[in-house]
C-alpha cells in the first residue's frame, strides 16, 4: 500500500489547484454525509414528538385501549411483559451460546474451530427477515401446536430474532477479555469453569449487558412477527402463557395510523412516542454501561 502511494507521487500529481478543490469537495462531502445521517434522525424524533405532544394526555399511561381510542396501559404493560420474557429466554440462551462459542467450543483434531458451523448459523439467522420467522411462528406454534395467539408464541419468535445479537455480542465481549486475566486465573490454580464464572464472564459483563439491552430494543420495536403470534389484547396482560393474546406498543402504530378517527390517530402517535422513548432509554442505558466500563478499565490500567 505504501508502494502504491509512492507510485502515485512519482507518476506526477494533478495540479495543486485541482488537488485543493478535490480536498475541499471531500470535506464538504463528509459533512454532507454527516448531515444526511443526523438530520433524518432529528427529523424522525421531532416529527413523532410534534405529532404526539399537542394531544398528549397522561391518562394514556393509566387507561386501557377501548376499540381505537382510550389509553395504552395494556400495550405498555404487554410490551414490558414481552420484554421480560425475551430477557429470560433470549438472555439465557443467547449469553450461554456466546460463552460456549467463545470459551468452550475449542478446536477439533484438524485444528479447525468447532464452533464454526454454529457461529455461521447464528449469523445467518440474524439475516432471516423477521416476517418469515413470524409466519413460521404462526403456522407452527399458534396453529399446529394449538397455542393460539399467546405470550409464549410471541416471546419465542422474538427470542429467535434477537438471540443472534446476544450470542454475537457475548462472544465479542468475551474475546476482548485480556488473555492475561485468563492466564492469571490459571496460574492461581482456578479450574476452567471457576475462572470462567469468576474472572472472564465477570469482566465481559458490560459488553454482554449492552448486547442484551440492544436486543430488548429490537424486540420491543418489532411489528410484523407480532401481528400473527401475540395477536392483540385490550386488557391488562394476564398471567397465562397459552391461549391468551397480549397487547404491545407497535400494534396501535401499525393499526391506528390510518384508522378513520382522530382519536385513533392520537393513539397511534402516543404509542409511537412511548415506543421511541422506550428505545432511546434502552440505548442510553447501553451507552452508560459502556462508558462506565471504559472508565473503569482505564482506571485499572493506570
Amino acid at each position: 500500500m505504501v508502494a502504491r502511494g509512492a507510485r502515485v507521487a512519482s507518476d506526477g500529481y494533478p495540479s495543486t489547484r485541482r488537488r485543493r478543490i478535490a480536498e475541499q469537495a471531500f470535506r464538504a462531502l463528509t459533512l454532507l454525509a454527516l448531515l444526511a445521517v443526523v438530520a433524518p434522525v432529528i427529523w424522525v424524533i421531532t416529527g413523532i414528538v410534534a405529532r404526539a405532544v399537542p394531544h398528549w394526555r397522561w391518562s394514556v399511561l393509566t387507561t386501557n385501549t377501548v376499540g381505537a381510542s382510550g389509553g395504552l396501559e395494556n400495550a405498555i404493560l404487554g410490551s414490558l411483559a414481552i420484554m421480560l420474557g425475551v430477557l429470560i429466554i433470549a438472555g439465557t440462551l443467547g449469553v450461554l451460546g456466546g460463552v460456549y462459542l467463545s470459551e468452550l467450543a475449542g478446536f477439533n483434531r484438524k485444528g479447525k474451530q468447532r464452533g464454526a458451523v454454529l457461529r455461521s448459523a447464528t449469523e445467518v439467522l440474524a439475516g432471516v427477515p423477521s416476517i418469515a420467522l413470524g409466519l413460521v411462528g404462526y403456522l407452527a406454534l399458534v396453529v399446529q401446536f394449538h397455542w393460539g395467539f399467546s405470550v409464549l408464541a410471541a416471546v419465542i419468535v422474538l427470542s429467535v430474532i434477537v438471540i443472534p445479537y446476544i450470542t454475537r455480542g457475548t462472544e465479542v465481549a468475551l474475546r476482548q477479555v485480556p488473555t492475561n486475566y485468563r492466564e492469571g486465573a490459571e496460574a492461581l490454580g482456578m479450574s476452567t469453569g471457576y475462572s470462567l464464572r469468576k474472572v472472564v464472564v465477570r469482566s465481559a459483563i458490560p459488553g454482554i449487558a449492552t448486547s442484551v439491552l440492544i436486543a430488548l430494543a429490537i424486540s420491543v420495536g418489532e411489528t410484523a412477527p407480532m401481528l400473527y403470534t401475540a395477536g392483540w389484547f385490550t386488557g391488562i396482560p394476564k398471567a397465562s402463557l397459552f391461549h391468551q393474546p397480549i397487547g404491545y406498543l407497535t400494534y396501535p402504530v401499525w393499526t391506528f395510523w390510518d384508522y378513520p378517527s382522530n382519536q385513533a390517530h392520537y393513539l397511534a402517535f402516543d404509542a409511537a412516542l412511548i415506543l421511541l422513548v422506550l428505545v432511546l432509554v434502552l440505548l442510553v442505558i447501553a451507552r452508560l454501561v459502556v462508558a462506565r466500563s471504559q472508565r473503569f478499565a482505564e482506571n485499572r490500567r493506570n
Partner: protein, 318 residues
C-alpha cells in the same frame, strides 16, 4: 447446548416453510418467479385440482412484480446509503472534531434502534407528502425525456411509492454499512496513511488511494449485508410503498409492492381461501425471500471474511 438454538431455529424455519409451501411450489412451478399476475382465483367458485393439489378455479400465481419491486427499492436504497455511509465512516474516523463525531455516532445508533414501524409512520405522514408536494414535481418537470432520465418523469403520486421506500430503506441500512465501514477504517494501519501524508497527500488522496482500497472488500460485504436487510424489511415498506400487487411502477415515484410487504398485506385474505392454497403460495413467497436473503448474507460474509476483518453485527449497533 444453547449455542445450538440458532442452528435448530434456522433448520426448523426452513423446514416449516418448505413443508407448507411444497404443494404450491409443485403447482405454481417456475412460472411463480417470472409470471406477472397474482390471481387467487374465485374462492367462492369451484375447486380444481392440479397434480393432486386442490386450489380455487382460476388461481394462478406470478410473483415477478413483487420480486422486481424488491430489487428496485433495495437497489435504490443501496445507491443512496453507500456513499453516505462511507462519508459518515470517514467523518467518524478521521475528519471530525471529537464532539461532532460523537453526535454522528449517536445518530447512527439511534437510527439502528428506531423501530421500523416508526420510520414507516414518519415516511408515510411526513417525508412522503413533503417530497410529493415540493420535491418530486420539480425533479419530474426538469428531467429530459431521454432513456434512463425518463424514469424520473411522469406523475409523482402522493408520496407513497418506490423512491420514498428507497429513501426510508436507505436510512435503515446506513447504520449497517456505516458502522461496519467505520470498524474497517479503524483497522487500517496508521503507517501507510502516515506515509501518504508524509509524501504530501491530501486527506482525500489518503482516503481514496490508501484507506478505501485497503478495506474495499469489507465495504462491499457490508453493502451486500445491507441489501439483505432491505430485501427483508416489511412493515415500513408496507406503509410507504403503496403495497400493490401485480404492478411494476412505470417511473421512480410510482406505487409498487415488495415480497416482504406482500407477505404481511396478503396473509389475511389468503386465509379466506378454503383450499389453503393461497397460504401455501405465501409460504412459497417466504421461501423465495429466505433463500435469496440467505444467499446474499452468505456471499456478504464470505467477502467480509476474506479480508480478514469481522463484520459488525447486523444492525450495526454494537
Amino acid at each position: 447446548m444453547s449455542a445450538f438454538v440458532p442452528l435448530v431455529a434456522l433448520v426448523l424455519t426452513v423446514l416449516v416453510l418448505a413443508f407448507k409451501a411444497w404443494p404450491a411450489i409443485r403447482v405454481n412451478g417456475a412460472h411463480f418467479l417470472v409470471g406477472s399476475s397474482w390471481k387467487p382465483g374465485n374462492v367462492y367458485g369451484a375447486v380444481s385440482t392440479t397434480g393432486g393439489v386442490a386450489h380455487p378455479l382460476g388461481s394462478s400465481y406470478g410473483a415477478w412484480p413483487a420480486i422486481a419491486g424488491t430489487l428496485e427499492s433495495s437497489a435504490l436504497a443501496i445507491i443512496i446509503a453507500v456513499p453516505i455511509s462511507i462519508g459518515a465512516a470517514f467523518a467518524l474516523t478521521e475528519r471530525l472534531p471529537r464532539w461532532l463525531a460523537e453526535i454522528l455516532r449517536s445518530a447512527i445508533e439511534v437510527l439502528a434502534g428506531v423501530p421500523s414501524v416508526l420510520l414507516g409512520l414518519w415516511g408515510a405522514l411526513t417525508l412522503g407528502p413533503l417530497l410529493a408536494n415540493d420535491v418530486y414535481p420539480i425533479v419530474a418537470n426538469h428531467m429530459p425525456n431521454v432513456p434512463f432520465f425518463s424514469f424520473f418523469r411522469g406523475p409523482t403520486g402522493h408520496g407513497e411509492g418506490l423512491l420514498t421506500s428507497g429513501i426510508v430503506l436507505a436510512l435503515m441500512i446506513i447504520p449497517i454499512v456505516a458502522s461496519t465501514t467505520r470498524n474497517l477504517f479503524a483497522q487500517v494501519p496508521a503507517l501507510p496513511k502516515e506515509g501518504g501524508e508524509a509524501l504530501g497527500m491530501t486527506d482525500w488522496e489518503v482516503g481514496r488511494k490508501i484507506t478505501i482500497p485497503w478495506v474495499r472488500a469489507g465495504i462491499i460485504g457490508a453493502t451486500v449485508l445491507g441489501l439483505g436487510r432491505a430485501f427483508g424489511e416489511t412493515i415500513a415498506v408496507a406503509m410507504i410503498s403503496g403495497s400493490l400487487l401485480n404492478t411494476i411502477t412505470p417511473n421512480i415515484y410510482g406505487t409498487m409492492g415488495t415480497v416482504a410487504a406482500t407477505l404481511v398485506t396478503q396473509l389475511d385474505s389468503a386465509f379466506a381461501d378454503g383450499t389453503g392454497f393461497e397460504v401455501r403460495t405465501l409460504a412459497e413467497l417466504a421461501v423465495v425471500l429466505v433463500v435469496v436473503v440467505l444467499i446474499v448474507n452468505t456471499v456478504a460474509r464470505i467477502i467480509v471474511r476474506r479480508t480478514g476483518h469481522l463484520a459488525a453485527p447486523v444492525g450495526g449497533v454494537i
